[in-house]
């Protein structure tokens, strides 16, 4: 039933449960719904920060946001692309793990998941190196709003990814009686794809300004 139809139900009529099957038979797993809701929250965080980014750049200078002109964009070293590549490879590894989990191949699935986690850690290290690189070039946090936004956005994205790595380390080993590894791996893969998407949007924002 579509959402609209469900919200139009005249529930004061027709008592009974005819035609209403047991919800356990058709509902998606709760963990999946919870993850989607969480990604919604993360999307809001990054959207608001991007909006703040554009406002602070002075695009709306005539509305009292910031004085256009103090914004000096960061240089774009090749490391940005290396890190992006690492994250993308991590996502590929997770995608492989998801498919292997679906076809029930436990051992290769675990290796793929481990590879995904490893690439995630490398990405985080790469981001740290990028920070060091900027620091060495004098692009400190407080020196310019462009720097401040860069550090803030990458830090928040990195924290989300670190959470993904921690979850990813546990995912292939479900506790007895819990969900099977298939669902857990699938959720990890979704989350990593989401974070790659967020990173690409942030990258476009950084590159285009």
């Amino acid at each position: 039933m579509s959402l609209i139809a469900r919200l139009a139900e005249k529930s004061w009529q027709n008592p009974g449960i005819d035609g209403r099957s047991d919800p356990a038979d058709y509902r998606p797993p709760a963990a999946k719904v919870g993850l989607v809701a969480f990604m919604g929250v993360a999307t809001v965080i990054f959207t608001l920060l991007s909006a703040a980014y554009l406002m602070r750049m002075g695009i709306h200078g005539n509305m009292g946001h910031g004085t256009a002109g103090d914004w000096r964009p960061l240089p774009k070293p090749p490391q940005l692309w290396i890190n992006t590549g690492l994250l993308a490879l991590g996502c590929l590894a997770w995608e492989a793990a998801r498919r292997l989990a679906r076809s029930g191949e436990a051992a290769p699935m675990r290796s793929a998941a481990a590879l995904g986690n490893g690439l995630g850690v490398l990405f985080l290290l790469g981001q740290l190196l990028l920070w060091r690189h900027y620091q060495a070039g004098g692009y400190f946090l407080a020196a310019n709003p462009a720097n401040a936004f860069f550090y803030l956005l990458t830090a928040l994205h990195g924290l989300h990814l670190a959470g993904g790595v921690i979850a990813g380390l546990h995912a292939p080993y479900p506790p007895a009686g819990g969900h099977d590894a298939r669902l857990r791996i699938q959720l990890c893969a979704i989350y990593w794809h989401f974070l790659l998407l967020v990173w690409i949007v942030l990258l476009v924002l950084l590159l285009s300004t």
């Binding site: 004061w12 009974g16 009686g177």
Partner: protein
């Protein structure tokens, strides 16, 4: 399969130790009580602060312990605690936790462990918040809106450390809320028992559900704003901080946008009003329906109105910024959206009144509070129509008219619903009945008292008395009568404050010595009253989950044996 929570494959896990049951509990009912008691405790701090403020405003200088700096600190802590740490935590963490699983027929929240973490992180945020009273310089005095640059600039009380504890505490609170909110939303979506369609849910669940979604979307703005301001303060960035001159020295910061903070703050701040209001709307609908023995009038419209209000409240935030310097077209847009929100809100009010119309009204204590809410809410809503219009708002902005308005609409109204809800569900929660006479005394003191407090505020606000002022001093436009009115308001505030002792005495005394409560003392149809045990045991429903055959409002159905039909009763 009908005996499992949606897809929960784990067997119910029964804690054995005392600490596992009452401290590190993952039972939604225990977590609800923990949330509620913590929120009420910190709310009492805010209440004491308001008494101190009224002491100063009614009798300036009578108590020399309150300095002008203290006054600002009290205002700020009072406002923030009341809005975030009391109302949000109590309505969602408290009532949301208690009611959602019981009302939709689940054994618990879908993520019990995350639910437990949510409470402990909330407690941490409260501790960090209150630590502001003990850091050098005391808590922040920037107002609950925390506007930069003043919040972190010299001259504002607590600009060094108090603001840090406040911002850190808020960020922690957002984390706690997100954990709770994900649980509430997912539980409503995933753990409804067989037959519990969306439109068979009681309006309490609808209000809490939509408010939780709104919280998940609105609190990130507060989080982001808090983190950015912390960076401005501690790391010297210029997100919000413009260049400033002080003692001939130019600050290190430059070019930041204070207005940007205001946008972020109110993108959270306005939905927050409805995060508090929607659960109250839902709960009061149920109280009115049960105690008037009538089905709620226009159930579908009530649900839709909740959803529409929730959506619209994300596009009205800048009505708090009419005097901040915005493009006038923006003001026009936000004034329009603000007035449009009045339509679904008015529909709700009419439907409450039409539910009462020719109902079999039982004036029990919960019903009294529900009726009180209708008064204060209509009142606060009407003054809101004034403030929603740019040209009317500009002269009234930052006066006591605003203080009167928002206390009526989002202070007193939800508080009255909360009291009503506590009286209503107390027998289910504790298995005991409270004392009726004491409950009525509590209601009349509170209801009449808040009118004496807040009605005059509108008038002195129209005269131009500004808010957040320590003392009015000798000012031409403020007549003597304002001082008299202020004395009266303060005395009423002291009486209302003292009157709450009746409530606490009643609740605590009844918990130990009250008469045993029936499982369903009000003859209510919704699920939470049909549990096999009172108070409900761990897992709520015994061996089998209930099956729901009808909506939650079958009251006074013609031809039925009793004047209500529980949701679990199959059609004959």
């Amino acid at each position: 399969m009908a005996t499992t929570i949606a897809d929960d494959l784990r067997p119910m896990h029964h804690p054995k130790t005392w600490a596992g049951k009452y401290v590190w509990s993952q039972d939604h009912k225990v977590i609800a009580i923990q949330y509620s008691l913590t929120a009420i405790a910190v709310g009492l701090v805010a209440l004491v602060l308001s008494v101190l403020m009224r002491l100063q405003l009614g009798f300036p200088g009578a108590y020399s312990g309150i300095t002008p700096e203290n006054y600002l600190q009290y205002v700020s802590m009072h406002g923030m605690i009341m809005v975030v740490y009391l109302l949000t935590a109590l309505l969602l963490g408290g009532f949301g936790n208690y009611l959602i699983p019981l009302m939709v027929g689940a054994r618990d929240m879908v993520f019990p462990f995350v639910n437990m973490l949510s409470y402990w992180i909330y407690l941490l945020s409260v501790v960090v918040l209150l630590s502001g009273f003990f850091v050098p310089g005391g808590p922040t005095g920037a107002g609950w809106t925390l506007y930069p640059p003043q919040a972190i600039s010299e001259g504002t009380p607590g600009h060094q450390w108090g603001i840090v504890t406040m911002l850190v505490s808020l960020a922690i609170f957002v984390v706690a809320f997100t954990m709770g909110g994900l649980n509430y939303v997912t539980t409503v979506l995933q753990a409804r028992t067989r037959g519990m369609t969306l439109m068979r849910m009681p309006l309490s669940v609808w209000g809490i559900f939509i408010a939780s979604i709104m919280g998940l979307l609105a609190f990130p703005a507060l989080f982001v704003a808090a983190v950015m301001m912390l960076l401005d303060h501690l790391a010297g960035t210029s997100f919000f901080m413009p260049a400033m001159q002080s003692m001939g020295q130019t600050s290190q910061t430059m070019g930041g946008s204070p207005i940007l903070f205001q946008h972020l703050f109110w993108f959270f701040g306005h939905p927050e009003v409805y995060i508090v209001a929607l659960p109250a709307f839902g709960i009061v609908s149920d109280l009115i329906s049960v105690h008037a023995r009538k089905n709620i009038f226009g159930y579908r419209m009530m649900v839709w109105a909740i959803v529409i209000i929730g959506g619209l409240s994300f596009v009205v935030w800048a009505h708090h910024m009419y005097v901040s310097g915005m493009n006038p077209y923006f003001g026009y847009f936000f004034a329009t959206s603000t007035l449009i929100i009045a339509i679904p809100t008015a529909i709700k009010v009419y439907n409450w009144l039409l539910t009462l119309w020719r109902g079999d009204i039982h004036l029990r204590v919960p019903m009294l509070f529900a009726l009180g809410f209708i008064f204060t809410f209509i009142h606060g809503g009407l003054s809101g129509l004034f403030l929603g219009n740019v040209s009317v708002d500009v002269p009234l902005s930052d006066t006591f008219f605003v203080v009167g308005h928002f206390h009526m609409v989002m202070g007193v109204s939800p508080i009255l619903v909360i009291f009503g809800a506590i009286y209503h569900w107390y027998p289910k929660i504790t298995g005991r009945m409270w004392n009726d006479a004491l409950g009525k005394i509590h209601f009349w003191i509170t209801f009449l008292g808040v009118y004496v407090i807040y009605l005059p505020m509108h008038y002195i606000g129209i005269l131009g008395v500004p808010r957040r002022y320590y003392a009015l001093g000798e000012t031409g436009f403020i007549p003597q009568s304002v001082h008299t009115a202020n004395e009266m308001i303060s005395i009423a505030a002291f009486v209302v404050f003292a009157g709450q002792a009746v409530f606490f005495y009643n609740m605590i005394h009844s918990y130990f010595w009250g008469p045993k409560a029936e499982p369903n003392p009000w003859g209510a149809a919704s699920l939470e009253w049909q549990t096999p045990e009172t108070p409900p045991g761990h897992g709520n429903w015994g061996a089998h989950l209930p099956i729901v055959y009808r909506w939650a409002y079958d009251y006074s159905v013609p031809g039925a044996a009793r004047d209500f039909i529980p949701q679990t009763e199959p059609p004959s």
